[in-house]
């Protein structure tokens, strides 16, 4: 992976810059070489790079001060929440500050009457739900890293999760943010009132992967908890039939809260890991959750059951209690960890495809697994058509990482070919950066680059991410993308 060339001038001034940062954020600067190791990657661990320094502000004012300083000194800035990005979104750069927001972790206000909460960016996703669940509320987007991942990171990545089939992504559950710009100014987009005044800048910065500025406060929509929820565990003799069942459920006008598929490889892995009691004879299992009033949950359960058997289901059981529902979800939620037990390294792809293409894409992935001689487990948000093929490899084996990345790229090419996209919820980051031209023309990327320039004319925010190549903004705010013509330095790989 090629990253922007290091600024030798910045590197040579490191000691001075660190001193200045220490004055701005006393007790919040990590510059010791050994301590920096803890920050050298996010959850995409194939890439590692120690930052120039880590700065851990405790307040929005400190964030502003750091950004103002970095901007004045042309120091790059990589924002980081909990570092759970699977796409390298929080991968540091060697000549840039890693701005960690985890110490800004206070819930500022819970406003149930207006169904929202105002929180600092370092509050964890699950922390929000924990704070309001005794009042019968929750925050809907639930990425699988929700115990650890921060809401600020969720905003930056527009994170999804199992339940976004019914309740939407982060962007559909946000009301407002306070946003620190590179010049240190903080602006508010949205708030407790619906709809933006002026352009929808809240929508624009959500999912901008830390390339436009830093989220310093978030107002999220809270939802009342549904009175009843049931999970169905359905076994299929083939993954294609499971995929067809999902398409039929949606086409029937049912909107389940979640629909997840796991293939046999994934089922075997979780059975070995936590034994949730999934049917072992199945080539694939489908977990569907429906919520609402008891009576509509029962009705939807019956409908899905019938559709499942029409699609050749072997068995279909529905949860008998909340703890039984937890048991059904246990394996799905442990799938990544379980797969991690089988192979030393994993690449998790994240393409989204139209649901009708599920059978075709899944069989093609199986063929490619043989071609690339790398096992792949499929665990994914089937209702949204959001695939998560887990490609297993061993980074210590010569050529494995390279083959795994090529395999991943082939899967994503296929996703785009069938009308889908490169990433449904993990973000482009560094991982899929060079695949962007599969989906976007040079003109499409130039337009996005121009938006970047409107926020960050010196390209200091999270450099080397999302765009295949960036050159400096030209007069008037436009940006020219010269693919592959920029001087890059190679980033060491682990």
């Amino acid at each position: 992976m090629r990253m922007p060339e290091l600024d030798q001038g910045i590197l040579s001034r490191r000691a001075t810059l660190v001193d200045a940062l220490r004055r701005l954020v006393p007790d919040g600067v990590v510059a010791d070489d050994d301590a920096l190791v803890a920050y050298d990657s996010d959850a995409l661990t194939a890439y590692r790079q120690k930052p120039l320094a880590v700065v851990l502000p405790k307040s929005a004012d400190e964030v502003s001060a750091v950004l103002r300083f970095c901007s004045a000194n042309k120091v790059k800035v990589v924002p980081r929440g909990a570092g759970t990005s699977l796409s390298g979104g929080a991968l540091p750069v060697g000549d840039g500050v890693l701005l960690g927001l985890s110490r800004m972790n206070k819930i500022l206000q819970i406003d149930l009457e207006n169904r929202c909460a105002v929180v600092q960016p370092g509050v964890t996703n699950l922390g929000i739900t924990r704070a309001v669940e005794r009042d019968g509320f929750y925050y809907a987007p639930d990425p699988s890293s929700q115990v650890a991942c921060t809401i600020g990171g969720n905003v930056a990545e527009n994170s999804g999760g199992i339940h976004c089939l019914k309740y939407g992504l982060t962007t559909n559950n946000l009301m407002g943010v306070e946003f620190a710009m590179l010049d240190g100014n903080r602006v508010r987009f949205g708030g407790k009132a619906l709809d933006p005044g002026g352009l929808d800048l809240l929508g624009l910065v959500t999912g901008s992967e830390g390339l436009l500025g830093v989220v310093t406060e978030v107002t999220v929509r809270l939802r009342p908890k549904p009175p009843c929820a049931k999970a169905l565990l359905i076994a299929f003799p083939s993954i294609e039939q499971a995929g067809a069942c999902v398409a039929d459920v949606i086409a029937a006008g049912i909107v389940p809260a979640a629909m997840e598929i796991m293939d046999r490889f994934a089922v075997d892995a979780v059975e070995a890991y936590c034994a949730p009691g999934y049917p072992r004879e199945a080539a694939a299992i489908l977990i569907a959750e429906v919520d609402g009033m008891d009576i509509e949950v029962d009705a939807a359960t019956k409908q899905i059951d019938a559709i499942a058997y029409r699609n050749g289901a072997l068995t279909c059981e529905s949860s008998t209690s909340d703890s039984d529902r937890d048991r059904i979800w246990l394996g799905r939620k442990a799938a990544f960890a379980a797969a991690g037990r089988i192979a030393p390294d994993m690449l998790c792809m994240d393409g989204t495809i139209p649901r009708r293409a599920l059978p075709r894409v899944l069989s093609r992935i199986a063929e490619m697994s043989t071609e690339f001689a790398l096992p792949v487990a499929n665990v994914f948000h089937a209702g949204d058509g959001n695939l998560h093929p887990l490609i297993m490899f061993d980074v210590m084996k010569e050529g494995d990482l390279d083959r795994a990345e090529k395999f991943g790229a082939e899967i994503l090419k296929l996703c785009v070919e069938v009308g889908g996209v490169l990433t449904g919820e993990h973000g482009v980051g560094v991982e899929k950066r060079d695949l962007m031209p599969l989906m976007f023309s040079e003109q499409d990327l130039a337009v996005q680059g121009a938006v970047k320039c409107a926020f960050d004319p010196d390209a200091l925010m999270n450099p080397g991410k999302v765009f295949p190549a960036l050159s400096a903004c030209v007069e008037g705010g436009a940006m020219h993308v010269h693919q592959g013509r920029m001087p890059f330095a190679n980033l060491p790989r682990l």
Binding site: N172, D200, A454
Partner: protein, 385 residues
Amino acid sequence: MRVLKPDTEDQVVEAIHDARAPLILEGRGTKQNLGRTVTADTVLRLSGLTGITMYEPDEMVFTARAGTPLAEIEEALAAKGQCLGFEPGNLGKLWNADYGASIGGVVAAAVSGPRRFAAGAARDHLLGFTAVNGEGERFKAGGRVVKNVTGYDLPKLAAGSFGTLFAMTELTLRAIPRGDTTFLAVQNQDPADALQIMRTIARSPFEPTGLVHFPASAAANVAVPRAVTLIRLEGHSEGVAARAAELTRTIAPRARPLESEVGKKLFRDAADIHPLFDPATTLWRISVPPTEAHRTITRLNPASWFADAAGGILWLAFSESPHATVIHAAARDLHGHATLIRKGAGATDDVFPPLDAATHALTARIKRAFDPARTLNPGRMYKDI
């Protein structure tokens, strides 16, 4: 006024590329009175770009050219038991347009009806688009799947940009299944009480897809004798019935079932807005946190009003409107923002909520990023943007 009426995207590219002076962008032209006045002598009318180019009912997604009449889209979706989740109304009748809007115009103006409360606004349903920027360059953004975080979310920026950034030529939107519907009505004379009841229902787990209040004056205009709060529930028939019963039993004992045809008509009126108010009034739309709704109404004291989204969106009609700065300031004090929808006598140009200096500067830079020569609808939202 010169009118350019392209029939193809290439002609849109050509028209904008060759423009040497500002262009007024319009779809079918129903909302030309919404927003600030654009000074230009050429109209770029996109109503010639018509047709649904893709509709996959089982994927609940469709693509239509920007000038496609909204009515044509609604009809196509209805034929498959689907509809637009954000329930855009026919706002054009506020200015006496006797024909319907285009899908491009609806999205560009972010027109969203009562279901916006539950299902999100236009911005939440636009999945992707193609457009031509101010330099006559064609580009696309987003995609055709709901779950997509590839690149900046430009569809969000497109919805509500009023043609100031680019001319959308084709839009891909999601549809939702049309469920069974039940309506409940609560007779309410006291606004504070009505707004309180809506907030209570909004906090309940009964998933209303519409929570609106017609005070007596607005009710009278739609042939309802008294002030009334309406609750709409949609979904599976048994589920909707169960929710209606439980909602009535637990939190709204005064709620009564409302005949389906009446409910449908009143919600259509609530989306269209024009039937609720006397045509001569100046009309503002104000978004506030629902707890501030009553304070907003008492402070501004309109001749008539209407509350959507459990009081989160207020439509205020004035016979003689207070000065725009007064309304904008009040909205800001109450943690919201106001937009002037229908100008009355003594028209003002302060249509959209004033921006603070940093946001204004950022908005100007974004305008420049798409339209450096300020060719497209210059000044439509803000004077220098």
